[in-house]
Amino acid sequence: MGELAAEEHVKYIISVEKRKDDFQSVMMEHIRMIGAYWGLTTLDILGKLDTVDIDEVVSWVLKCQHESEILVRLDLGFKVFLYCNILSVIITLTGKNQRREGCELHCLLQKYRGWIWMHAWWRISLWTEIFLAGGYVSGKSNLEVLMVDLRNFLMWVCYSWWVLSSLIMIDRVHWINKEKLIKFILDCQGTENGGISDRPDDAVDIYHSYFGIAGLSLLETWVRTSLLRYPE
């Protein structure tokens, strides 16, 4: 089995953060906040949050909150979603620096390592969405649905994040083959400049870099973040 090219992924994420004017960056500008959240979370999982300029990111996040039309003019659902992200980013960042208003809340979260609760609520909605999306016949319980053989589907790395997090919520991760999924994620790594793609031969992007690394972390293979670990 391959190795996780952690260093390359860190470089890739930093490069994406710096890139603002190529076609893909402009196309995705309206969800740059989500991109930042995913990029920063990935760095955190990799234990490399110190590679970004915290001050710069924090002031950008705060600026977005007040000024950018793109962030403010949203449908209700999206607004809530983004606030959650903003909060997460700030908390993640300030926690490392022990400052700003988010600090107090973060200390509490950090202390009991219960931060993942913040994310849980919208994973629930994702869980629902996945099964509606698949249009599966859900029968008496959604648990049954998990036995779907994915060979008729196009398998994507992002499944490793939302399906896995859903499986974790119902405590059934052991029902899938971890080794196969780990191999698939590792096969999707960009060989030259880091990053992870949706499928082995596709172009890498920031979102799938997050999905893949979060997936590996949920599979208990890669954890550098201090937030989730048992003490040594």
Binding site: Y112, W117, S138, V145, V148, R172, D202, L218
Partner: protein, 693 residues
């Protein structure tokens, strides 16, 4: 972003891409400027249309267009034609955006928003959908939109059902069509629409249809899923009923204070020890129910029992549970015997998770002899429990534990789920059909379906030979573990549940696992019978309805990862889970609901082995307001870093008053951790086989 090939761009491509980026940037800046200035002029709108054609996901542009539409509708004369013209333009923009990206949420939503104004013709919509659904038969956006349009146009459900038939006929492997079919059919059956009654006839026709799909290609799973739904419709019509209780009917409970006293005149099963004069009253239903309270469950007694509080036994305090408990508090001052009668009748309140009310009147009664007296011994220093084989001797056949409902005057059948002949017959037919299919092909989902059918048959048919059927199911799961190793753990879980069902299905098979503990003087174990379900490869526990009486349980040397379900066994005082696969303290959360637990062995598990505790947020968080565990004064005596480090352990153990705990053989175990445990468990006498000073 999906499906972009991974290849470096050629210089000329790079150049073209840079031009596109500049164009996009320009349009975006113009749009934001127009948006700020509320500029809804024709040229400005043109910019947003061009932008959306390039980037249909840009929701700000859609919102700008919505504001523009509102603006023009307010301004323009109210003649239908000019309104239509405004809206038609929006439909055009949305359509061209969808051609660019058929999964653009913003574009589908915009289209819905325009149609909801009910000025536009909907005829075009179905044609457009036809095109999109041909392009991708499982595009859930299109299916969602179809349901929206059908609702808007008042298309009868019958007609939409026919559309799913067409889609299925042209391609069996269409999950979305099968799914929509199940949703539509459920509605039609519910309102007993013409041609959709009786249910039995409709479901038989559906079985026919799905057989065609399954037999055409047994390896395609979409049909099997619909079959699963059909099976569910076939058996689900039962209202909830009580399957067992503790104390069971016509039982005599001898309530005494905790101690080493052993009055040999009483059967060990009937003895219950409590210092506070309370016994649990446990009701176990065949499905999760909610709404138990003093009006839905009538408890009459010669003792003056105050208003009973019913608690569901489920994790996270979910409202519905199979098992419910209430604590009966008897007067402590005098020797006395009391009778208790419990009646559950037809109740609007007591309702299953599927919405059925409890209908069948159920009564049972028992007696409680209270003899609290003096505490006989405080000295429990003569050794904890040792779970070694040589300390247990097999029980004689004379053991008379409260099994099932044999003593119930209303009879055994009253406890069995109600059933209809049609249901049993349908399931039998399906079983025969799939046995035939499996004789020709080794199809794994076919085997899984047969296993589920056999379970349904064993549960619903009064004529079924349950043991034989359960054995066949066990064989099927064994087979599947070999045939489909990727899903080994799923089959192992299912296998465990069936195995437990089999072991507890008759008094004789259960008796084979009953043992007596050698040392009768042990304060915790008394002379109670011990149930040993060790070395059985069990990975999961669920139905414990036949085990409510068990006080000592040995589940060691299994594959247990989760103990969900164990919380129903409210009488447990000694439990061994050693040599299993428990991965964290949060996995043990159900134990918090078992207040009588005194002895716990969780040695040789995997606690602390996994770097991430993936179960922790399944359970209540210290941050959630539902937890009543904010730090109180005496807890400040514990080192704060310890508390933060061992939070999960603290949360689990603080509600238990354990006297003996075995924790060795787990990664988390260390001297520091043991010292912490001694602090939070003040009643602990034994830790890892050593006496606590």
């Amino acid at each position: 972003m999906h499906g972009r090939p991974r290849k470096p761009q050629k210089p000329e491509e790079e150049e073209a891409s840079a031009v596109e980026a500049a164009k996009l940037r320009n349009l975006q800046s113009q749009l934001l400027a127009n948006h700020h200035q509320k500029n809804y002029a024709k040229e400005a709108l043109e910019v947003s249309a061009n932008l959306l054609e390039m980037n249909p996901d840009l929701y700000t542009a859609w919102n700008y267009r919505k504001l523009a539409v509102e603006h023009y509708l307010k301004e323009s004369p109210s003649d239908i034609e000019s309104i239509k013209a405004i809206l038609d333009e929006e439909l055009r923009v949305a359509e061209s955006a969808l051609r660019q990206n058929v999964k653009s949420y913003g574009a589908w939503y915009h289209r819905k928003w325009i149609l909801s104004k009910r000025h536009s013709s909907t005829d075009h919509e179905l044609r457009l959908l036809g095109k999109f659904q041909k392009l991708d038969a499982r595009n859930f956006h299109a299916w969602n939109y179809r349901r929206f349009v059908a609702g808007l146009m008042n298309i009868p459900e019958e007609k939409e059902l026919m559309y799913t038939t067409d889609m299925i006929d042209s391609n069996f492997s269409n999950y979305s069509a099968w799914h929509n079919r199940s949703a539509l059919l459920a509605k039609l059956l519910n309102k007993k629409a013409e041609g959709y009654f009786p249910v039995e006839k409709v479901l038989n026709d559906e079985y026919e249809l799905v057989h065609q799909a399954i037999f055409t290609d047994p390896d395609d799973q979409s049909g099997w899923f619909y079959h699963l739904w059909l099976l569910d419709q076939t058996v689900k019509t039962n209202p909830p009923s009580l399957v067992s209780s503790w104390p069971p009917h016509s039982f005599n409970v001898a309530l005494s204070r905790t101690g080493c006293l052993n009055d040999g005149t009483l059967s060990s099963f009937s003895r219950f020890q409590s210092d506070s004069g309370t016994i649990p009253l446990i009701l176990y239903f065949d499905q999760p129910v909610q709404g138990l309270d003093s009006s839905s469950v009538i408890v009459k007694s010669t003792a003056n029992l105050r208003d009973l509080i019913w608690k569901p036994l489920s994790k996270c305090n979910r409202a519905a549970a199979k098992a419910w408990v209430s604590h009966l508090n008897f007067p402590q001052e005098e020797l006395n015997s009391y009778s208790v009668e419990v009646s559950i009748g037809h109740s609007q309140k007591l309702v299953s998770a599927t919405g059925f009310h409890h209908v069948k009147p159920t009564h049972f009664s028992f007696k409680v002899a209270v003899n609290l007296g003096e505490t006989t011994t405080e000295d429990c220093g003569n050794g904890g429990i040792r779970w070694k084989d040589e300390n247990f001797t097999s029980c004689g056949i004379s053991q008379n534990f409260p099994f099932g409902s044999s003593g119930n005057p209303t009879g055994e059948n009253n406890y069995a789920p109600s059933t209809s002949e049609w249901c049993a017959e349908t399931i039998s037919n399906e079983i025969a059909l799939f046995r035939e299919l499996l004789s020709e092909t080794d199809c794994k989902i076919g085997k899984l379906t047969l296993a589920r059918l056999l379970m349904a048959h064993a549960a619903t048919s009064p004529h079924a030979n349950k043991i034989v059927q359960l054995e066949e199911v066990l064989d099927l799961y064994q087979d599947l573990m070999k045939l489909d190793p990727s899903h080994f753990c799923y089959y192992e879980d299912e296998h465990s549940l069936v195995l437990l069902k089999k072991l507890t299905s008759t008094r004789e098979s259960l008796l084979r696992h009953c043992y007596s503990y050698k040392d009768k003087t042990s304060p915790y174990i008394d002379s109670t019978t011990c149930l040993r379900l060790n070395n059985l490869s069990i990975s999961r526990i669920e139905s414990v309805e036949k085990l409510l009486w068990v006080q000592v349980l040995d589940l060691s040397h299994n594959e247990i990862r989760s103990i969900e379900g164990l919380e129903g066994m409210q009488l447990l005082s000694c439990l061994s889970l050693s040599n299993n696969k428990i991965g964290s303290f949060t996995t043990l959360e159900p134990l918090r609901l078992i207040k009588s637990l005194k002895v716990l062995d969780i040695s040789y598990n995997e606690i602390g082995l996994h770097s991430i505790d993936t179960t922790r947020y399944l359970f209540s968080s210290p941050l959630s307001h539902s937890e009543e565990n904010y730090l109180s004064g005496d807890e400040l005596a514990i080192d704060c870093t310890d508390l933060a480090t061992y939070w999960e352990a603290y949360l689990l153990f603080k509600d238990l008053s354990l006297a003996q705990l075995d924790i060795e053989g787990n990664m988390i175990s260390s001297e520091r951790f043991k010292a912490f445990l001694i602090k939070i468990l003040p009643k602990l006498h034994w830790l890892d086989g050593k006496q606590v000073q």
